[in-house]
Amino acid sequence: MVFYESPKGTVRVELGNRYLAAFYAWLLPGAGHFYQGRYTKGLVFSLTILTTYFVGFWLGDGRVVYASWKTNDVRWQFVVQCMVGAPTFPAIIQAVNAKENVAPLWIRNYRYPANDGTHTAFSRITDPAELTRLGKRKIPDGFMAAPFGMVTTTEPDVLSAWHAELGHNFDIATLYTFVAGLLNLLVIYDALAGPGMYFEGSEDDDDDDKKPDA
């Protein structure tokens, strides 16, 4: 338990097993606070962070949260995005899958290959007959999977097709999901160590205002 004491009153915060709470807070935003019995804060954190994350996810058509360490597509933002916990797990599963050179799971749609000649390279296939015609040449878009194939800086690729389709929303959506991850870091810390409370004048009067552990 952590308690904060000042001339204005005492605040007691029951942290329980703080490390377990921090783990729950990472696993699902707000879950650590529910575990500690801090239901109101848990609800506020859960609603705020998950809303921010899923609004970003929706703006980016579900494509902005993926794990990739490929040349020309080092998705460093995912390191922060995955602080939201469970909602990002499909991206980790897809990354592990991709490392074994297996086609992505949960395929959402297919795209034309680069050298088809009949359609714009990497554009979406909407005609079911085309899927049969292209056979194994068609390119899959997996749910929360990294862009399929090579990513280059000089030629069109799947990632450039995503950018073309989403426009500025790709960056805005990345920002939203990124900020959701950053905010959950604050929440994890709050579950681990309690709120970052301070009292005005505490620097001058240590006896009145203190933050001991008990």
């Binding site: 605040v11 109101t40 921010t52």
Partner: protein
């Protein structure tokens, strides 16, 4: 003005709201103090971002 309200810059408003709520709620445990922190954080962030926007806008006018 309408163009500004519908522009991409307005995407920042929900983000500032979310950041203020979470930051404010991690500063205290008492609802009234949390609310005060949320309002203070939101105002601080909007002023800070507003100043940067005005400076960049002014630079944009100045730079040909």
């Amino acid at each position: 003005m309408l163009q500004l309200l519908t522009s991409q810059i307005m995407h920042i408003v929900p983000l500032v709201a979310a950041a203020s709520i979470v930051y404010g709620a991690t500063r205290d445990e008492r609802p009234t103090f949390i609310l005060a922190h949320i309002v203070r954080s939101a105002v601080w962030m909007m002023v800070f971002l507003g100043v940067i926007t005005v400076v960049l806008f002014a630079l944009g006018l100045w730079i040909p």
